[in-house]
Symmetry: none
Subunit: 418 residues, 2 copies
């Protein structure tokens, strides 16, 4: 199958110098992906004629579609329009409809036009107008042989609006693009290399029109399947059939799909069963509670918790006997079990969860090195505990502990019978 | 002054397809900017030999330095190493030191190597090793005539570490870049436009070799001063003289410099005075405690806290009279004051802090719309409370609340006399 290829070119010094994050080209890429157009390169260049012209020449060598964003504002450093005019040997002509649109926007805001604004109504005679309902700079659509060159402003909400309302449908019509289907499997607590090993045979047997990519981050790996074909229903069915084959191999580590987050899935499993939860945190210092409460509607299952950072708080507020701490140390199965049980009882919840460990970077002993962390999940009939041996990085250790704990809660919630 | 030019090339289909935001190239651009190297282009290409090789060829036409990120993992879609080997006609040779480093990382985690991991120790004979202290994939540094080509893994924290610890200093040494001195003033709870207005006269009077950039994020604005010159001592002195002039204009909002975070500065002010603190959180759901405990050594001042998400926890565990909640609502000056006072008394600390509000996106009333949040700081002799009227964004509201609260604690700690 023939793919239609696109390049996205972002214009602006502020991107090059790292002063702002380029979210525009991600947004454009997502929209193109949805209509089966393959982005083959993304480029960011500065505000100079030379840089823009060179980028365009290079892009036309590999892409059927070149999309520019940025450099269409009214000020001196906005030179995209004049540069493209020169490239296409086009003339700028005052367009009464564009001027009327700009005047209308100004009237709405109670402002009056200056000369710079009026110049935004001058438009290349060789381009089609892409209307910008919410901003003053229209987009430009040039056609050269069988290629299309598009220029949009850099203001994200203006661009998003032009992209979804006009450009994407017009591209789909122009290029008769194939269908692309993406599905992401979200896995947790399984390193990329072990995951790859577990599913190697399955991966090798994937048909050539379904591709797999591993996207690891902070103890999670997203497995992205991308299928291409002429029939959307068929490639969706084929992708789901492949997913059905791979899931049993990695079951306990799969918590969700696409953009679902672990705290969201775990929260949903709790809410659906009417289960409530409370947290007693030592080494995670509030991060477990934060993850549970960052989801809107968390009050349906999360009632609260204690951050028992100091051992005296464990003793006085979680009723952990001092001599038990002296005997086993706060970082132990005995203590973390009691913490989970006691928070459950004290806060009157169905589940109690707890963490106790050495997050680092200091505080390790030969016996319990940095990264030794105990987690526990308690309910009336049973208790689960696990010792984790993590890294020397404090931030990562806290995050990984949250991953393990929330995934365990998710699993236990699913297993509960009513 | 002659500029050294760099191009950044990000490798990975996930960037092209818009599935993840490319924060890596922004980070690299920022680091290069700090040492006076000018990024002239940023490119993102897919996981194919052709795309990578072409991007490199094109980059070498305009750049003295080409920096790759991504595609160094252990799985099949990671092809940067073999592609660069081919380009430079280098051979992959097993490096015992790299293998030892990888084994060591695995031992720490209690895991065993598989074949994919072992292959990461194969390294091109024509490259220098850039050590990756926290990950398995080392970076590569190739030299071709007077140009440098660098390849780093795509895992953000590994790359950040390699970039600041090894690559930036090595580039500075290799290219004898002019002296650049950066100083960042960290401000909080002051919107960019108001900040700019307050310091407009000072900003206009800055000498031309000292530039100011505003970098706003989540309720904080970093003011980055960049001085360029031939004499480091002189440009440092000039920069500090400018800072001495501007600080009085924005004093209560300046919490630190450079990479200091508010939780770090606040923690230090507490620790230096031997002050202890406990938190009672409702709408922030653990985020305040998390910020305090993400700093190593937090146990010197933070003893713990209660996440009183459900009102029953406020009543039963923080002794807030139920009828007071019925009278004023949980989101009120009366309740947040009591929460701060009671956590201080119950946990036996010098300071007690509390939050109660409507984080959103739902739960607002005409009287108390989403974003209405009360904060309180209590000590034995006084109590401070403040009503915040924030946004409709849950995540942002939680973070902004933490900003306000920690900055207030910082100010109160400084004002304490002993």
């Amino acid at each position: 199958m023939q793919h239609i290829h696109a390049e996205i070119i972002t214009i602006g010094d502020e991107i090059l110098y790292g002063q702002i994050t380029d979210t525009n080209s991600q947004m454009i890429a997502t929209e193109l992906d949805k209509i089966g157009i393959r982005v083959v390169r993304r480029t960011a260049v500065g505000d100079t004629q030379n840089a823009i012209t060179n980028a365009l020449k290079v892009a036309l060598q590999i892409a059927d579609i070149v999309i520019f964003t940025g450099g269409l504002g009214p000020t001196k450093d906005d030179i995209t329009k004049t540069t493209l005019c020169k490239f296409f040997e086009a003339k700028l002509i005052q367009q009464p409809e564009i001027l009327a649109h700009i005047e209308n926007l100004f009237v709405q805001k109670g402002r009056t036009l200056n000369n710079l604004n009026r110049q935004q109504a001058r438009f290349p005679d060789k381009a089609e107008i892409i209307w910008n309902p919410i901003g003053t700079a229209p987009g430009m659509w040039f056609t050269q042989k069988d290629k299309v060159i598009i220029s949009m402003p850099g203001v994200p909400r203006e661009m998003q609006c032009m992209m979804t309302e006009t450009i994407a449908p017009k591209l789909q019509e122009t290029f008769h693009t194939p269908f692309i289907y993406h599905k992401i499997i979200r896995t947790i607590n399984l390193p990329e290399s072990i995951l790859a090993e577990k599913i190697a045979t399955w991966e090798d047997s994937l048909p050539s029109h379904i591709k797999l990519a591993y996207l690891p981050r902070m103890g999670q790996v997203r497995m992205r399947l991308t299928a291409t074909g002429e029939n959307m229903t068929q490639i969706q069915a084929e992708t789901h059939a492949e997913i059905d084959k791979v899931l049993p191999l990695i079951k306990p580590h799969v918590f969700g799909f696409d953009n679902e987050e672990i705290e969201e899935v775990t929260g949903r499993e709790l809410a659906e069963r009417g289960l409530t939860i409370a947290a007693a945190e030592s080494c995670t210092g509030g991060l477990v509670a934060h993850h549970l409460t960052k989801i809107a509607g968390a009050s349906r299952y999360f009632v609260g918790g204690i951050v028992a950072y100091d051992n005296r708080i464990k003793i006085r507020k979680l009723d952990i006997p001092e001599k038990l701490i002296r005997k086993h140390g706060a970082v132990s199965q005995e203590i973390v079990s009691l913490m989970a049980e006691n928070i459950r009882k004290k806060y009157g919840t169905y589940l109690g969860i707890a963490t106790s460990g050495i997050a680092g970077p200091d505080g390790g002993t030969p016996d319990k090195p940095v990264g030794t962390i105990w987690i526990a999940v308690s309910c009336e009939s049973k208790i689960f505990t696990q010792k984790l041996q993590l890294t020397t990085d404090r931030t990562l250790n806290m995050q990984l502990t949250v991953n393990y704990l929330l995934n365990k809660v998710r699993q236990m919630a699913i297993e509960m019978e009513f």
